[in-house]
Amino acid sequence: MNFTYIILIPLIPLAVFFLLGIFNQKIKPAVSGYIGVAGLLTSGILSFYTAYQYFFVHGKVAGVYQTFVQKTTWMNFTDTLAIDMGVLVDPISVMMLIVVSIISLMVHIYSRGYMKGDEGYTKFFAYLGLFSFSIFGLVLATNLFQIYIFWELVGVSSYLLIGYYYTKPSAVSAAKKAFIVTRFADLGFLIGILIIGYYTGTYDFETLNNPEGSAILNWAATSFMGLSALTWALILIFIGGAGKSAMFPLHIWLPDAMEGPTPVSALIHAATMVVAGVYLVARLFPMYYFIEDGFALNIVAYVGAFSSLFAAIIAITQTDIKRVLAFSTMSQLGYMMLALGVSGYEGHDGLGYMASMFHLFTHAMFKALLFLGAGSVIHAVHSNYLKDMGGLRKYMPITNVTFLIAALSIAGFPLTAGFFSKDEILVAAFEHNKLIYGVGVLVAGLTAFYMFRIYFGIFWGKNTQYKHTPHESPLSMTIPLIILAFLSLFSGFIPFSELVTADRIGFEAHLNYPLAAIAVTVGLIGIGLAWVFYKKENDLSDKFANVFGPFYKWAYHKFYFDEIYMFVTKKILFNGIAGNIAKFDKKIVDGTMEGIGNKTVVVSEKIKGMQSGKVQDYAFAFIAGVVVLAMVFIYLWTN
């Protein structure tokens, strides 16, 4: 079947980027907003058309979803090793097309209201276009190098958008931090790619992921420090994924990234770019699963589980609502990672894989909704901090209801989207690893608690006196909220297990009632505690925080990871290494060269007296020379 038109999906936003970027000054803001929305709408329609064609018409052959690839050579290394550019259509790439186009379109529409009056309005839509292009390209990548290329482009779009308010020093440093931390992680990714390219002779996903292919069958042929070289490669690639998906300990850039405009946080730092790491592991899932009996996959599971818990604890203590959501994102990404990590491959065994993708989908909807809702609130009260909010339900009814729906969904309230996907993850974890299951349940409770903490804090709680009476946001902002609320409620009914599975063969997933009951109970306890603490203004939460004392303080300071990184970069790398190299270069390396130059001058000063210009001096030297030479000759001659 012909999927050539798919190339338009990324290229249309790219065209929007060039159009708005080059004619930045000439296009009126009102028009540029429409250009951006129209571009994404076209890409979105194409994505939906593709999904329909793939899942329901052409994709399935004999009960198995096929992979369709169209590509062209972009760069040759050797006769066999090359970088291709193309599109790869398979269940997860099509699913990601849908996620990205829905969220990106919603964010485009929303931004028309949110960014109104901003002087960089056109530039903002240009950047959104660049980002959409990059993430579509990443999703459709046919090989490791192509995904790496778009990976970097996504990183730079994120850099530009975090640093959108570029006159604000905190935004500039947050952008820098995000770029450098992910770049550091990408170093691992790149070395991983080099290893895979060298040992398997290909970068193509199709060849690499083939369970009967040489890459997977011959993993034991190489070894390095006790593990297969390919296992090392997978671990390194996971480091790249962990950087983008803000896994511990590479998460430090994500909270700071909230310096960007809120629609950006919703699009990039909640729904699409940050799931790239999860997507990468899923993309290489057969390799992760089969090579060295899933050694690397175990690492994925534990890192995911730990990050999930770590972030949930920090989220409870934060007072900036965007940061709470940022840590919540990190925690949910950890959930997706751990689901992949505990997954098997065939049939129902691959439940974790399917659950991870399912959760990726539902999470994108409700987390984008939470961010856009938070944006609506911030738009109204001009502050990010909980202390400046309270009682807003009276002023902002639509935001209130949609935010509540999203919060219920992430807390796993029965029949919301989050309930289904989270349940599948917990079932998969329960079947494979009880420890990780325990962490998952604990995190589910914490999630419900911190989410309702901010929900009550924003919309209930104390009756703050506002200088300007807050009012509901304009339609351009509330319509996306309503659409996303609808999706957060009902997207759980999509039969993911029929469509997106590790072995491409659908299976029937049933609710596991006992496990679902446990998860729901824990979630309800979390909500209930939040109700007690935060629904009405009281000092229970402060007392409670005091009980935990130092631990609370640690969590509030994010376990001091920023400080540790600061120490390593500022003190060791910058002042220690870079500073000393600069000095060493000036003093020693250059000093040596200068020394040679200066010595030459000194010596010539000393011997220049010999060129005195006096005939008698020269005559003396001449005669002395003759005498010396004569003596030498006589000496040689007599011997």
Binding site: W74, M75, N76, L81, F145, L190, L194, G579, M593
Partner: protein, 495 residues
Amino acid sequence: MDILSLFVTVPVLTIIALVFTKGLKQARVVSMVGSLIQLVMAINLVFAYFKERALNNSIMVFTKDVVWFKQFNIHYAIGVDGISVALLLLTAIVVLAGVFISWKMAVLPKEFFISLLILATGVYGFFISIDLFTMFVFYEIAVIPMYLLIGIWGSGPKEYSAMKLTLMLMGASAVLLVGVLGIYFNSNADGGALTFNILEIAQVNIPFEAQKLFFPLTFVGFAVLGALFPFHTWSPDGHASAPTAVSMLHAGVLMKLGGYGVFRIAMFLLPEGAMHWSWFFIILAAIGVVYGAFGAIKQTDLKYINAYASVSHLGLVLFALLTLNKIAWNGAILQSLSHGLLTAMFFALIGMVYGRTHTRDIYKLGGLMKILPFIGAIYVITGMAYLGLPGFSGFVAEMNIFVGAFENPNMFNRILTILVVSSIVVTAVYILRLVGKIMMGPLSNDEFKDLPKATWFEKTGILLLLIPIVAMGVAPLWLSDMIFESLEPFIQGVL
């Protein structure tokens, strides 16, 4: 006149025409026209080369040989392969951009443009020569005008910098000359006549002992110009004092002579020497890559940052050459081209910022994006290209180098490769620090509020450089194919 000799003739004619001009306006128009013709010729040469290559399978095409000095068998022998064609195109682009950037040269404009074009003549001659002696002569023609250009039109401690740069490069030339003569006097090893012709020497089996002796001399002689650690210190001081167009030409083109010379002479003619010594020099090159990048972090002068960045990026060229791998070699040539364009771009931008604010201290600059949106945007784009963002030339070059270097399974080489690959993070650090400090943040100085925006000639110069950077980054295949097939004779020697 044959297609290649024109590359020397046209600049010489431009110089003669310049002698008769009066004032800045005439001088710059004449230089612009001359350089424009040169660029058109270079583009034409690319097409002509593809056409010729389809029919002609010899190592060099468009060859011509005129006896110049019979006694020593010195010829004016010229010819090009894919590598030199690409570098000629680079030179033509950078020279024309340099002329545009110097549009407002106030001091002695005529003499300035004459010196600039003498330099260009030397570079063109160097890239078309296939006779060692002629090549060496052109090399010196290219290096010497630097002294005048920095000493007269420079800024800061210009006499000191000019002296330092010239003396270090001359010192290297002396070593190089010994190496070249060493090759010459061994060119009869198989019983033929002594010759300077590169293609003829390449057929000769120079004895291993001689290769071992003369490779380091030739290598170091050229590599000093390519900023080999620890002989790079002329570059920061020299660049800091040089006027904008000179920095552009020097870092953009002249420093490429180093890598090209290493490849075309030291490695092509002395392959066994290269194999014998590569382990040693590759360590120096790898140190240069990381050392230059770390050195750039703590600099405060825009030009120093760029100079150290050049040490790092050109170290990558030498590193790639010494891996003795075809993919990495391809990357080395691509990196030469890419770095030439990017560094010229950076120096042009620094010149624009300095010309307006009269400072290059990054702590005194800040928030310029708001005042100078075009320059700011291009600065960010150039920075991104410099740190190897896909879609720009640097990425293509670096990936070739990394993949090629990784082909060698030797643990020692692997470790060096990983060390070198990790420089991409350090590069990101200094580039983002630089861009963040000078372009973003609040405006540092209220006097900067009314800085004039970029002029048409500045924009033209910038676009001239930007277009090939993007073209290389988006569609690298044609260029890398052109270079790749020319690498075959080189790889034969080290197999």
